[in-house]
């Protein structure tokens, strides 16, 4: 899906660059993310995936080029609205240490007028989805394990059921069992509710499972944008081939 200013794009980058001093974390990238579709960002560590997500939500501003939201340039004075329509899972969680899990989940909904019962109900539903024991809702972030915290961060992004989700390695710290189940259910939700999803992951199997559109980045630039099949059969360059080959499968039955 080549970059274009099609009005159906929820987000788009037009020749966007974000430089830190000499480093270009995102380098002249043009991409558009279609509404209702799931796109996967993959790439080497430090290739600019997180920075790209941060650009979309106005946590970072391009040093050159443009970021479009719903076809219009992102505006500082309308960030609040933009952000409320987006569920964003930071790579490191970003949970508030002084609030319980429920407090973290309810922060924005309560501000928007939800009552406590509704918040609690929604939290319980999401806890079931993420296999989080409801007892943990009363805990503080510091009392959770790494994987539990990651699931809370995901739940927080889903609380308002936003049309768009930006997920930065949302399942990276989860064990295979929980992760497997969550993958199935999330994909089902994304499809059924027509969510626009941009997800970063390092797991090729997960990437392929969620979407037929993978975007492979390296040093701030997009290397290839297409399906796993394209990557396999028409790799854009040697790097793409290497990247695919690096996936380590379980050893065969008899080693």
């Amino acid at each position: 899906m080549p970059a274009s200013k099609d009005s159906d794009a929820a987000f788009a980058l037009v020749r966007a660059t974000r430089a830190f001093d000499t480093v270009r974390a995102v380098d002249d990238v043009t991409l558009s993310f279609a509404r209702g579709h799931t796109s996967i960002l993959i790439g080497t560590s430090g290739s600019g995936k997180s920075t790209l997500l941060r650009l979309l939500i106005g946590l970072e501003w391009p040093t050159a080029g443009e970021v479009l939201c719903d076809g219009r340039p992102l505006r500082r004075d309308r960030l609040l609205e933009t952000r409320r329509g987006v569920g964003y899972v930071i790579q490191e969680g970003g949970l508030f240490p002084h609030l319980t899990v429920l407090g973290n989940l309810g922060l924005l909904p309560r501000h928007l007028g939800w009552n406590a019962v509704r918040v609690h109900q929604q939290a319980l539903e999401l806890a079931e989805l993420t296999h989080l024991h409801p007892r943990l809702l009363a805990r503080f972030p510091a009392e959770l394990s790494g994987g539990q915290r990651q699931r809370v961060a995901l739940m927080r992004a889903l609380m308002l059921d936003p049309p768009t989700l930006l997920l930065d390695e949302p399942l990276g710290a989860l064990d295979p069992l929980v992760r497997h189940g969550l993958q199935e259910e999330l994909r089902e939700i994304f499809r059924r509710l027509g969510k626009t999803v941009i997800m970063v992951t390092h797991d090729m199997a997960e990437a392929a499972f969620f979407s037929s559109r993978l975007i492979l980045m390296r040093r701030g630039r997009v290397q290839q944008d297409g399906s796993l099949e394209d990557f396999r059969h028409a790799p854009a360059n040697e790097f793409v081939r290497e990247f695919l080959a690096a996936h380590r499968n379980l050893p065969d039955e008899v080693a």
Binding site: L59, L79, R84, Y88, P97, H98, L108, A142
Partner: protein
């Protein structure tokens, strides 16, 4: 629950203040037959207690309102019948209370004049508490100095006198003239003079002839051979209607005439002021009677009044400061440039000396609690503003970003994220301000705001450690209580989540 933090922070001191304002001032309990008053220095207090105990021995129900104030207050109280008797000095009566009495008038002359006002006077109790000149006994012995005359032979001696003594025509200027003294004296705060004398920094000071320190510091009182200093014989003044109402009491007072010499008085002053003994006990020992209970009826109510006044000063000014300074701190954290200016200005306020600040306050607020509160308020700003600023700037940036990414408006971010996370330094600032405030409020007494400063200032002026302590100890306790209170608030407000380690 949203504004729990703000509410608690602001309301606690305000509640204190409100509670205070609502309480009526000390109520007059059931009035006993006879009321004795005393001035706010040790000797007067002891003489008051002696009179009370002597009267009690004769079975008269006597109340002693101690440390009521200065001469003028006692005199007015006596004339209006608020009190029935108090200890006074002939010199004071001559110079300050009656008009047109010749300086050398005897007690007989005074009695005639006072009678016209309905006031009686006893004969001298036995000692003369006038100005005198004191030196270290050792040095005086070495130099063979016994009287003021002898000073003239030692022009190198360093003299330092209280400012009052320096300025009074009947003080140093006259003395220098009468005794032909060659030295030049310098002015020094009286509270400090004894220590300077003891340390050898100076050689002679003015003092009162029954000061407790004379014995304590081993001083020699120089003889006033030329009778330069007027007589200040101790007497009791009393309302003449007592002759009818309580003749036994008047008899008790008269029984004390001529019984106390200067040495005894000095010893009693020393026992109270330096030995820290109870004036009642000292007085009882002198009379050879039992001290008995319920002695000084006025101590607790008075302390209560000081406390209420002090709480009002601190509570109101601190509440106002919190209400203003926290937003100022927030502002200065948000706008770096302008913020520096704000913090700088609150800093400048802090450098204005309190007396100078009072000078500027009076045209705005008059005299009393208001200018004191205004000044205390201004002095409380800096620690709170500065710490609010530092606290907000110290929040982990990733948390701020996380809050922004959620789409929370900045007001909600402030209340739900930033203030709770900066709570510890903000409260530290408030605690600092509270303690400084409790301390500075003692200066409120300078412009009639009352509070613990009253006994402290009087104590400093009278060089009475017990009187200083009467204000200083409650002030220190109040500071501890306020710190404890805010510690409690901190514990209540700090979510458990912030006290936990983060783990993996």
């Amino acid at each position: 629950m949203k504004y729990r933090l703000a509410a608690l922070l602001v309301c606690t001191p305000l509640a204190l203040a409100a509670q205070t304002a609502g309480t009526p001032t000390v109520d007059r309990a059931n009035t006993p037959t006879v009321v004795i008053g005393s001035k706010n220095f040790t000797e007067s207090l002891v003489l008051g207690e002696i009179a009370r105990l002597a009267a009690r021995e004769r079975g008269i129900d006597v109340q002693h309102k101690r440390s009521l104030g200065g001469t003028r207050i006692l005199w007015e109280a006596l004339r209006h019948g608020d009190i029935d008797a108090y200890p006074e000095y002939t010199g004071t009566i001559t110079h300050e209370l009656l008009h047109g009495v010749p300086p050398g008038a005897g007690i007989g002359a005074l009695r005639t004049r006072l009678a016209k006002l309905g006031i009686g006077i006893t004969d001298s109790l036995g000692f003369n508490d006038t100005y005198a000149i004191g030196m270290r006994d050792k040095e005086a012995a070495n130099l063979h100095i016994r009287s003021i005359d002898d000073l003239a032979r030692h022009p190198d001696l360093k003299l330092a006198f209280s400012n009052e003594f320096m300025n009074r025509a009947d003080g140093w200027p006259g003395m220098k003239r009468v005794y032909h003294l060659p030295q030049n004296a310098r002015g020094m705060d009286h509270a400090l003079a004894y220590r300077a004398l003891a340390s050898g920094a100076i050689d002679a000071i003015d003092l009162y002839s029954t000061d407790a320190e004379i014995a304590y510091y081993h001083l020699r009182v120089l003889k006033d051979d030329r009778h330069y200093f007027p007589r200040y014989d101790a007497v009791y003044l009393y309302r003449l209607d007592l002759d009818r109402r309580a003749p036994q009491f008047v008899a008790a007072l008269n029984s004390l005439v001529g019984t106390i010499d200067a040495g005894q008085m000095r010893a009693m002053n020393k026992a109270v002021q330096i030995g820290g003994q109870d004036p009642t006990v000292v007085a009882a020992r002198f009379l050879g009677v039992q001290a008995g209970g319920g002695s000084i009826d006025n101590f607790w109510p008075q302390l209560g009044r000081y406390t209420l006044e002090h709480l009002a000063l601190v509570g109101i000014s601190l509440s106002l400061a919190i209400i203003i300074a926290v937003p100022l701190g927030i502002f200065s954290a948000r706008h770096r440039r302008l913020g520096e200016v704000v913090v700088g200005l609150t800093g400048i306020l802090q450098t204005v000396p309190s007396l100078a600040l009072f000078v500027f306050m009076i045209p705005l607020f008059g005299i009393g609690a208001e200018p004191a509160i205004a000044a205390l308020f201004l002095y409380s700003l800096l620690p709170i503003v500065r710490n609010t600023h530092a606290g907000l700037c110290g929040i982990e940036p990733s948390l701020l970003e996380s809050a922004a990414a959620l789409g929370l408006p900045s007001r909600v971010r402030l209340w739900r994220i930033e203030l709770p996370l900066a709570l510890r330094p903000i409260l530290a600032g408030i605690k600092i301000a509270a303690v400084i405030n409790v301390g500075t409020a003692t200066l409120g007494a300078l412009i009639g705001a009352g509070g613990y400063g009253q006994p402290i200032l009087t104590g400093i002026r009278l060089d009475s450690i017990p009187l200083i302590m009467e204000g200083a100890i409650p002030a220190a306790l109040l500071a501890l209580v306020m710190q404890g209170m805010f510690e409690g608030i901190e514990r209540a407000l700090t979510p458990r989540g912030l006290r936990l380690r983060a783990q993996g």
